[in-house]
């Protein structure tokens, strides 16, 4: 089975069922499959072949979904880009992935010439409408998306098979540059089946989706609902959380999924916990540890008929690795649960042997959902993929019942909201400025975000240090979620005898 094969199968079985709702728009499985088929033909006619990479830079919408499945049906691998990133990052990822085409819209690619500049593999871009002011590199084709609308959908599932790459999802790496997690059709289809096995979704289910599809959790919501013939209700306006709750009620969604910051905001600024939620059957949470007190509060306030699923995963595992069965949540607050069906999740010692109950070790995951590796990065792949599986970098222990509890992360990653941010990337950005001599970036506990990014700076000239100018520099280089919330100018960073910055000391100083 392939990822787009799941769409084609559902479209054949339930052509008139609504697959997507976005505001006033509803697209049936028949519509989505036809649209994807037209895009697939369009790409094939322009020379896109099996194994090519095609980037998609489109916010969650029916257009994204059609482009995603169209790219796959054409035999290519989809590189979904985060529209929150800056032009410089888009360009770096287009270059790194070697994408031959970019499917986007004018609203996400206002500065298209800057995005595509210096991408030697890129042959053409497709937009909904072109800006007459754009000056594109010579030789780069520019097409309009409505050229595809006139074509007949491509028949059949095409050449790609389970072992072909379906997606490269970029995620922050320990080196500072984003790494491409390569996932095959087989990986994504396997994880979709594994998730369906415990969430037990069916065609009557519909999820209110506030998570971006370029993110593995958002992608898994889309794929599970496509597979079971359910409906994905897109709402990109979580900035106004009360309105998302109106969408949830109006569209009679049976599920809601979010990361800890979504639930923190819902509990702080909406009537989420008091609403009757007549149609809601379950909520799921993943994307970082949610404070046990918040889990308790949510579980205590929502009616018992609404199942609360606490889960854990990684992009490197397609999405999902573990879950706490809802009926055991009250006795296992703080746990990430056990491996989902088809995933072996163990806690291991450095020598590879399994830890005893209560003993700390690293979480190691194995199963058909584990990535092929990082794109073009054999060294980094070798650091996480071993014969016994994916070494997650999370330190944990398991209790006597086999439930896993995370203690700490091995790698220097900050989990700000839904986003994994590399301290190194932010530090490198700060150090680009001559007025910064040293920089150290850490995540400090934050009620809404889980962790907030803060930076300690040793300025070259403390008297002349301009904090706002440095933040403006960050804003010009980094997505907004990577910009430090606070800068702390200091005379020197605390270090150990070998010169390593003592991050724990900095973290303790803000408590």
């Amino acid at each position: 089975m392939t990822v787009h094969g799941m769409l084609l199968e559902t479209a054949a079985r339930r052509p008139d069922a609504v697959a997507l709702t976005h505001g006033e728009r509803h697209a049936t499985y028949g519509n989505v499959a036809a649209e994807a088929g037209r895009i697939a033909r369009f790409l094939r006619e322009r020379g896109v072949r099996r194994g090519d990479r095609v980037a998609v830079l489109v916010e969650n919408s029916p257009e994204y979904v059609a482009a995603f499945f169209g790219v796959l049906q054409a035999g290519a691998c989809c590189v979904a880009l985060n529209h929150a990133n800056k032009e410089e990052t888009h360009r770096a990822l287009l270059r790194d992935s070697g994408a031959v085409a970019l499917w986007t819209r004018a609203r996400e690619a206002r500065a298209l010439p800057e995005i595509v500049d210096g991408c030697p593999d890129l042959r053409f871009a497709v937009v909904d409408r072109a800006n007459p002011g754009w000056r594109l590199p010579a030789g780069l084709g520019l097409h309009r998306a409505d050229e595809a609308a006139a074509l007949a959908p491509l028949d059949g599932a095409g050449e790609a098979g389970p072992d072909d790459l379906a997606a490269i999802l970029y995620t922050s790496g320990s080196t500072g540059t984003p790494r491409g997690v390569t996932l095959t059709h087989g990986n994504l289809v396997a994880n979709t089946g594994q998730i369906l096995a415990y969430l037990k979704l069916g065609p009557e289910d519909s999820v209110c989706c506030v998570l971006p599809f370029h993110y593995s959790f958002g992608n898994s919501l889309l794929l599970t609902h496509v597979s079971c013939g359910g409906r994905t209700v897109i709402d990109n306006r979580f900035a106004f959380p009360q309105q998302v709750l109106e969408t949830l009620a109006r569209e009679r969604c049976t599920g809601f999924s979010g990361v800890p910051s979504h639930y923190a905001i819902l509990c702080a600024r909406t009537d989420f916990l008091e609403r009757p939620h007549q149609d809601l059957r379950y909520i799921t949470q993943a994307g970082g540890a949610m404070a046990p007190d918040l889990v308790r509060r949510i579980r205590g306030a929502l009616p018992d008929r609404i199942a609360v699923y606490i889960m854990y995963g990684q992009t490197e595992a397609s999405a999902r690795l573990s879950w706490v069965p809802p009926e055991r949540l009250r006795e296992k607050f703080g746990s990430i649960g056990r491996g989902i069906p088809g995933v072996s999740l163990t806690v291991r010692r450095p020598d590879g042997s399994e830890c005893d109950a209560g003993e700390q070790g690293e979480i190691v995951a194995a199963g058909p959902n584990i990535m092929r590796g990082y794109w073009n990065a054999p060294q980094e792949t070798a650091e996480v993929l071993f014969p016994d599986g994916l070494h997650t970098g999370d330190l944990a222990y398991r209790d006597a019942d086999g439930f896993i509890f995370i203690v700490d992360r091995v790698k220097n990653m900050i989990k700000a909201g839904a986003n994994r941010v590399s301290s190194k990337e932010v530090e490198e950005t700060l150090l680009q400025r001559p007025e910064v001599v040293e920089a150290c970036v850490i995540g400090v506990p934050d009620a809404l975000l889980g962790e907030a990014i803060e930076a300690w700076i040793v300025p070259a000239d403390a008297a002349a240090f301009d904090e706002q100018a440095l933040l403006r520099h960050c804003a010009s280089k980094l997505a907004s979620f990577k910009i430090p919330r606070r800068l702390h100018p200091v005379e020197a960073l605390p270090k150990n005898s070998s010169g390593k910055v003592l991050k724990a000391e900095l973290r303790a100083s803000v408590r």
Binding site: A84, F240, I265, T270, Q468, A469, L471, R472, F481
Partner: protein, 81 residues
């Protein structure tokens, strides 16, 4: 300080780090133009409640009240009225 200036000042200071150039006019959507994100909305609400002393109901967290300088000025004026 005049209310509009105060609100503009907060947005420029906190979301644009002192450079007001991207804020082309007072009608433009702060969200659609990438000036503010969902966490930014929470900071904005904290500013309205803290610095301006407003009591804001959850139901009032809508774009019509918060998504542009004009909407913000209108919202605060109505609340104070």
């Amino acid at each position: 300080m005049e209310l509009r200036q105060q609100i503009r000042g907060f947005v420029v200071e906190n979301f644009l780090f002192g450079d007001g150039a991207p804020l082309k006019d007072d009608q433009m959507s702060l969200l659609d133009n990438g000036i503010m994100d969902s966490v930014g909305v929470m900071e904005l609400v904290a500013f309205l409640e803290g610095d301006l002393g407003l009591g804001i109901d959850d139901q009032e967290l809508v774009p019509e009240n918060l998504d542009s300088i004009d909407n913000l000025v209108g919202f605060v004026t109505r609340k104070r009225g």
